[in-house]
């Protein structure tokens, strides 16, 4: 079983990285790009037989407290 967490900068918060990459893409000729947002992708391997609901609850907690910075980031958690 795997959990996947995607962490992205909040909309209102400046994303210097995304901006810089957007400019670089434009310089390289990718002009259809109207915005770039750079975040983190975390994949967590779970031991077989892990209880999905419990894992969801625990990882949700971890994503909020440890993996993301709720002051400036949002996250999305999926378990599959």
């Amino acid at each position: 079983m795997k959990a996947k967490i995607i962490i992205t900068p909040k909309k209102a918060v400046l994303d210097p990285q995304g901006k810089t990459v957007q400019t670089a893409l434009a310089h390289m000729g990718y002009t259809d790009v109207t915005g770039v947002h750079i975040g983190k992708y975390i994949e967590i391997d779970l031991a077989p037989g892990t209880d999905k609901a419990a894992a969801h609850k625990a990882l949700n907690d971890a994503a909020f407290k440890l993996l993301s910075n709720p002051v400036i980031e949002d996250y999305k958690l999926e378990i599959e």
Partner: protein, 236 residues
Amino acid sequence: MNFAVLQFPASNCDQDAVHAVRLLGHSARLVWHKDASLGDTDCVIVPGGFSYGDYLRCGAIARFSPVMQAVKQFADNGGLVLGICNGFQVLTEAGLLPGALIRNRDLQFHCENIFLKTATIDSPFTNKIPAGKILRVPIAHGEGCYFADEATLAKLKANNQILWQYCDQDGNLTDSANPNGALQNIAGICNDQRNVAGLMPHPERACETLLGSDDGKWIFESIFAALKNKPVAQAA
């Protein structure tokens, strides 16, 4: 000799490289990243810093600057190119040097002196380094852990392309002397043509005893000597 020191947005050791070369008696000038030509140049230095903020990946964006085309051509013609720190990262991203530099194993930026062992003096970048001399040179990086797959690593070794390795005071390649987790304690390498080299430590910060060490000058002296012995390629 004429040195061209590249200047990317947020290069920040560019002036230091110019300073070191001039201090050692040669001329150096800055070349803007948007320039398509290197002008009259004997050696190119890709300096340290945080080109493009090191956003995305260190050196990833700088590699696409117009000037890098000229550097590639200069290198293809046998010209000497030295990448220092961020410059090393740019050269690996550009494919001019094999491998990649990843996050330090303890995830922290390290600014400190390290000891360097010269693995071979058979290169334009090491030929003047006194035999057995352990260099004391500063590092300052967060992503300096050298990585290459096994095949590449084997090739590096077979071709004698590893130039410098982190060591302790007595020259032993120990794990605790390795500041970033680099494979085989690798601090710097060259390409198989031996005319392009990169290293994470900053020799340009160690060219004056006032600043604590002048061991770095041996790397520059090696380049001067190599250039003197064999005038090389024309700039692109």
